[in-house]
Symmetry: C2
Subunit: 253 residues, 2 copies
Amino acid sequence: MTGKISVVGLGPGNPDQITPEALKAVAEARLFFGYGPYLDRLSLRPDQQRVASDNREELDRSRAALQAAAAGEKVCVVSGGDPGVFAMAAAVCEAIEDGPEPWRHLELEVVPGVTAMLAVAARMGAPLGHDFCAISLSDNLKPWTLIEQRLRAVAGAGLVIALYNPISRARPWQLGTAFAILREVLPWSTPVIFGRAAGRPDEMLRLVTLADADASTADMATCVIIGSPETRVIERPGRTPIVYSPRSAGGPR
Amino acid sequence: MTGKISVVGLGPGNPDQITPEALKAVAEARLFFGYGPYLDRLSLRPDQQRVASDNREELDRSRAALQAAAAGEKVCVVSGGDPGVFAMAAAVCEAIEDGPEPWRHLELEVVPGVTAMLAVAARMGAPLGHDFCAISLSDNLKPWTLIEQRLRAVAGAGLVIALYNPISRARPWQLGTAFAILREVLPWSTPVIFGRAAGRPDEMLRLVTLADADASTADMATCVIIGSPETRVIERPGRTPIVYSPRSAGGPR
């Protein structure tokens, strides 16, 4: 009996944004580990079994999944979005590195998906149309001073910024502070997008300026995209505005 | 007759990585604009028509597509990967902004996809597992000095770097120069991944250190991922190594 562990991205939530590759990986597994709401998205067969865990137990969940795979199970670890972007793939790799030798011999498969910032960007035009970065605003696993330094560096360098994990009950002030820092570096007219549940019936999209950006617009499932000084807004009569970052930069358009 | 323009991401090339949403957008369109090799991936019906153009004609292609949509056609503009990441969505938006007023009234849909860096990262573990950026190395539309400045800023700030458009016949020296710059800022042991055609039969993946990174390993369709100082390599006997960037940063693991 040979175990296998697949770390699978289910995309932002719209079933039409799950790849066939991800569905195949789900069909081939028997034991499913993940955060409950992500597991709820799967339609499992009677022979398939779910092991739900809480949102902040990534490392324990990874170890349990690896242990099951090492015992011969076909295991699937599910993530929303893409598993390699602030999600389960890094936690599984970390558990492998720190775990017992046999875990290194396991077959590991990571199945990519559409990550939140791509889905949110698509709904608004092309705000990530030029150089951009993705930064987690969570200071659970890195010092806040490092986050501040990174925000200043990337904003100063002219990159569009996608913020993941912008806010939570345990981290209520970080996003507001991030906006305050960015207002020191970027024009206050810079477009800011709040995107949640992109492509789903409960989708929420807001476009504001950096001057007006209010942290309370976001929750933990929101992706916040902050434009660069080159990012543009096209007003459209009777339609939502388009936001895009031009392919050219650093000179006259 | 009401026209519509869809800008659709076909993913990195593996048909199993195309979303159902993208296939639906293709099924609903009649006229297809794009770079020939991307159009070749589609199985079109007899009533559907393709308009292929060369790789560097994004703006002309966008204008032709918008003109057709304004004349009432259902138009699809195809991109590899995600259309919002160094691809057609920004070009279409730019054409709308600079184009005639009626183009702003068109229905515009952008359909996200799995972009190259996510597909390459998935094949190697989780190299984008923490803060990262995506930078185009093409100096066709921005000055090289700006690219240098961005590389120094993001490497110095500890972000993993995904390089798009790393090299071409017309831009032969830029990637080698980028590696030289990064060797001034990053440890020479930093992992560097060259990924091409991820998930396809002709997939090419190479893992080297920054010290050994050689620009001639890449071509224009390669995505190059350069780790941060925290990125780790797990050697596995009998299997390819895993590369991942830990979820924690800036302190002891």
